[in-house]
């Protein structure tokens, strides 16, 4: 492959839109904060409805609720617009994780249900689960080692 022309690269860099740091940060803060506040709203609602539920149950229900809402919004193409506006504010909350599973599943469906939809579901979520599970097992083994040594 030929090396890209120096002048061409310079031109591309000039034409690339400059990142508007301040405005993207404010929008990420607002969107991220809002999503978390909505989550807290569901948490409080479930706590009110089911006072005997333990806190991890409430948290799981809350996450499931906002992931379901995200999946539906992604299905209608609305979450894309939230993502374009909110940047990291729409990626980092669990809703961004949900979107990263649903969006490729939808888009690659025409390649078939097994090889398109199911295969691409985890193109972004896969690495997250791999790193998460690996890290949790390391933590668990560390606990075992330290308990063995110090208790």
């Amino acid at each position: 492959m030929n090396e890209p022309n120096e002048n061409y690269l310079k031109l591309v860099r000039q034409q690339m839109p400059k990142t508007k740091h301040f405005s993207t940060m404010v929008r990420a803060f607002l969107v991220g904060g809002l999503i978390c506040t909505i989550g807290q709203g569901f948490h409080d609602l479930y706590e009110f409805l089911m006072p005997e539920m333990p806190i991890d149950g409430l948290q799981s229900l809350t996450l499931l609720t906002i992931m379901l809402i995200t999946a539906v919004l992604t299905g209608f193409g609305v979450y894309d617009k939230i993502g374009a506006f909110g940047g990291a504010g729409s990626i980092i909350p669990i809703t961004g994780f949900a979107n990263s599973v649903v969006a490729p599943a939808m888009e690659r469906k025409r390649e078939g249900v097994v090889l398109g939809l199911c295969d691409n579901m985890f193109s972004i979520a896969g690495p997250v689960i791999v790193f998460g599970v690996t890290a949790s097992i390391i933590v668990g083994l560390l606990v075992l080692i330290f308990r063995g040594w110090f208790l």
Binding site: I35, G39, A71, G86, A135, G140
Partner: protein, 119 residues
């Protein structure tokens, strides 16, 4: 009541703001951002800091992917202490299993129903 929600908003907002700073200055993709904040959650839970953030920010700490990380670490620690080796292996995934199983099911159904936009 209002102050509680303000704290949630602040903590959740600040976590996402940090993510946006990372994106702006390193041009990282969504997958890397998610992995980094997940591992941050695992680390903060393991060294025992996360519970204080969660106490203050509630859903502001647990709704971002850091909450997933914290759940993984918490589950692994709890599992290791109660069930030993097997607990250490399965505890993490067990703690977040509702979210993972839920999103697989939801994504499959929505993926089947929704019409992709033609590009």
């Amino acid at each position: 009541m209002f102050l509680d929600y303000l704290q949630v908003f602040l903590v959740g907002g600040v976590i996402c703001l940090l993510g946006q700073i990372l994106i702006n200055f390193t041009k990282m993709t969504a997958a890397r951002i998610l992995v980094i904040f997940l591992l941050l959650g695992v680390l903060l839970e393991t060294i025992g800091v996360f519970q204080y953030i969660e106490e203050f920010g509630k859903a502001g700490a647990t709704v971002p992917i850091t909450g997933f990380g914290s759940g993984l670490a918490k589950g692994a620690i709890k599992g290791a202490l109660s069930d030993g080796f097997l607990g250490a292996i399965r505890g993490g995934l067990q703690a977040i299993s509702a979210g993972i199983a839920g999103i697989i099911f939801i994504a499959f159904i929505i993926g089947l129903i929704a019409k992709p936009k033609t590009k």
